[in-house]
């Protein structure tokens, strides 16, 4: 649904007119502030209204616009007495944004935003009953708060971090540039001393964070962090996926999918992290077969896991 200039301008006009018409000459500056537009834009819109109205367009049925002493009056526009209802994309934009912000740990569940969303949901017909819920991914609130605070104050942090793709735990010193949520997960982007470059960290995989008494200067413009990446140097893996393993092609970025007979997919992946591939292969089981890549990856991982179960439960020993 692309929008045209006429669409936007008509939408703005139909919002401004009822508000001005319901008041006795508000100041032009106030109208501009309320609707976030410049004086020039407002005057151009009012200029157009002068000649609008209803049939037969005699002076008595034209909209009357008066501008005097920096104030504006609109009369004879009774058919525009209320703004238009919100469209579904508009309702979703506000309710979705609000629900997302309420999902940030530390948000006040009874604060102004929560009250605003209730009122908005009611006029939209959604009722007070929550019809849209947004979850931003599990994190420990104190971890998120600490890295956010460190990013604001520009303090280095020491992290204990579990790398899911490599299946390793490490301790790193990081300059936290920014904290953000995308695709339903919290991330910290920053310069990692150990790696000697910019890295992304999933906040839910940070098990310990210590804010250090060391300042840093963030780069002028932090480069946009790519959450998923496959580099040209990564190993090329080709898998054949039966219908029940199609999720592999749907969930992960890949280099290409070819549909084969019987609903089978042949997917090409670039893989830099072995543990990630182990999980995919173990989960997909017999529904995924490796066309290119080391066939020992799955068998070795399976043997390692089985080692925990044979001969005795390790959990009961430790």
């Amino acid at each position: 649904m692309t929008r045209t200039a006429a669409h936007d301008r008509l939408g703005r006009l139909l919002a401004i007119v009822p508000w001005v018409a319901a008041r006795d000459g508000p100041e032009i500056a106030e109208v501009c502030r309320r609707f976030g537009i410049t004086q020039r834009e407002l005057l151009a819109d009012l200029d157009l209204l002068f000649v609008c109205g209803v049939y037969p367009f005699t002076p008595d049925v034209l909209i009357d616009v008066d501008i005097a002493d920096g104030r504006v009056w609109i009369r004879f526009a009774d058919y525009f007495r209320r703004p238009l209802r919100l469209t579904p994309p508009e309702g979703l934009a506000l309710i979705g944004a609000g629900a997302a912000l309420l999902g940030v740990p530390g948000a006040d569940p009874d604060g102004a935003l929560a009250r605003a969303l209730d009122k908005l949901a009611t006029v939209l017909g959604l009722g007070a009953e929550e019809a849209v819920a947004v979850e931003l991914g599990p994190v420990r609130p104190e971890t998120l708060e600490r890295v956010q605070q460190a990013a604001r104050d520009r303090h280095r942090v020491e992290l204990d971090y579990y790398s899911f793709g490599r299946d390793e735990r490490s301790t790193r010193i990081v300059e936290p540039w920014r904290v953000f949520n995308t695709q339903g997960q919290w991330y910290l982007a920053g310069y990692c001393q150990q790696a000697g470059g910019e890295r992304l960290f999933r906040v839910d995989r940070i098990s310990r964070v210590v804010v250090l008494d060391e300042h840093f200067s963030p780069p002028e413009a932090a480069p946009p962090a790519a959450v998923f990446h496959g580099g040209p140097d990564d190993e090329v893996i080709i898998l054949d996926l039966e219908r029940d393993a199609r999720w592999v092609a749907e969930q992960y970025p890949n280099e290409g999918v070819v549909e084969e007979r019987g609903g089978r997919l042949r997917v090409t992946l670039r893989v830099s992290e072995r543990a990630w591939l182990e999980r995919v292969l173990l989960r997909a089981g017999t529904d995924a077969s490796m066309i290119r890549g080391d066939p020992a990856i799955r068998s070795e991982a399976a043997a390692r896991i089985l080692g925990r179960y044979l001969p005795a439960p390790a959990g009961s020993v430790s």
Partner: protein, 322 residues
């Protein structure tokens, strides 16, 4: 006459009309249309399309309700056009402005949807919106992807209107109850008329467009319940068993965050944890456990331990046979 002027007059005529107006009558009453019949028809269609895109309830009705075969005309019913005052206080309006600036709701309509929504609220309410510099910058940015499918379902859920879409190569007709966003995915909880039961749909698997069908107010939304599905190990109809899972220290925090603190039944001095999960989908449980590779172990019941061992054993001997 420029197009915008014509559009303002068209909306005014349709709102002010106390009866449906036929196309030819609108041509005279609005003005600004071409004398050429073909050009008029084309421009009128374009204008109608724009009003519909803007969400105006443009209806086409017979001029005489007793003679539905007779001439048809257009009007915009005010009660379906007008936004009631939501009664937002100044701090509530400010909170919505802040949310709109902090969260990028990404869709085909871009940033403009929240801008025009805020214009309408600024108009509908007495609360004072914040100035351009009032919103404090957040240290955090959030992205919420939402395409046309999500927006159409949002509208249909608000109107309580049935929708039709293709899903897993079948045409479904559902009553959309609730939307939720979890793990980077949108889900819809709905009553599925094909199955005669409630179902959860993952919206990235909807094939093509969602089409509203039938009238508004066609169903009632049941109380309670989130739209996001239960975790994979609970999405089944197998007999429920209580499983205990041991997770090594390095993955313990992350595991606890995934299942929630309530499921943690033991924390050991070395940092490892024992989780208790109610399982009624064994495949889903096994998949969850495999995510920990060799850093987790199913402690009980024996049937789930055996299930995992039986599943992995053929793979362990795979390379030897090749």
């Amino acid at each position: 006459m420029d197009r915008l002027e014509r559009l303002v007059n068209l909306v005014a005529a349709l709102l002010a009309a106390n009866r449906p107006l036929p196309r030819e009558e609108l041509r005279t009453r609005v003005g600004g249309y071409s004398d050429d019949d073909e050009a008029f028809r084309r421009n009128f269609e374009r204008d109608k399309e724009l009003l519909r895109q803007m969400g105006m309830p443009l209806v086409l009705e017979p001029l005489d309700p007793l003679q539905p075969e007779a001439m048809m005309g257009y009007r915009i019913p005010r009660d379906r056009y007008e936004l009631p005052d939501p009664g937002l206080a100044t701090d509530e309006l400010a909170a919505l402005h802040l949310a709109a600036s902090a969260v990028a709701v990404e869709g085909a309509w871009g940033k403009s949807a929240s801008t025009s929504a805020l214009w309408k609220l600024a108009s509908a309410t007495d609360g004072q919106p914040p100035g351009p510099s009032a919103a404090p910058p957040l240290a955090t940015s959030l992205e919420l992807p939402a395409g046309d499918v999500v927006a159409v379902l949002f509208g249909a859920a608000a109107d309580m209107r049935r929708v039709r879409f293709r899903y897993r190569d079948e045409v479904r007709e559902v009553d959309p109850w609730r939307l939720s966003y979890r793990n980077g995915q949108w889900y819809l909880a709905a009553f599925d008329h094909l199955r005669g039961d409630s179902r959860t749909f993952r919206l990235d698997r909807v094939q093509g467009e969602v089409e509203p069908v039938g009238e508004s107010g066609a169903f009632e939304r049941p109380d309670g319940g989130a739209a996001a599905p239960a975790p994979a190990w609970q999405l089944g109809d197998e007999d429920e068993v209580r499983a205990t899972l041991f997770v090594d220290a390095p993955q313990a925090d992350w595991a606890a965050a995934q299942v929630g603190e309530d499921a943690v039944v033991e924390r050991r001095p070395d940092g490892s944890v024992v989780l208790a999960l109610q399982v009624n989908n064994r495949d889903g449980f096994r998949s969850f456990v495999l995510g920990f590779l060799d850093h987790a172990e199913v402690l009980a019941p024996a049937v789930l331990r055996d299930d995992l061992v039986a599943y992995l054993t053929p793979f362990a001997s795979e390379s030897a046979s090749q």
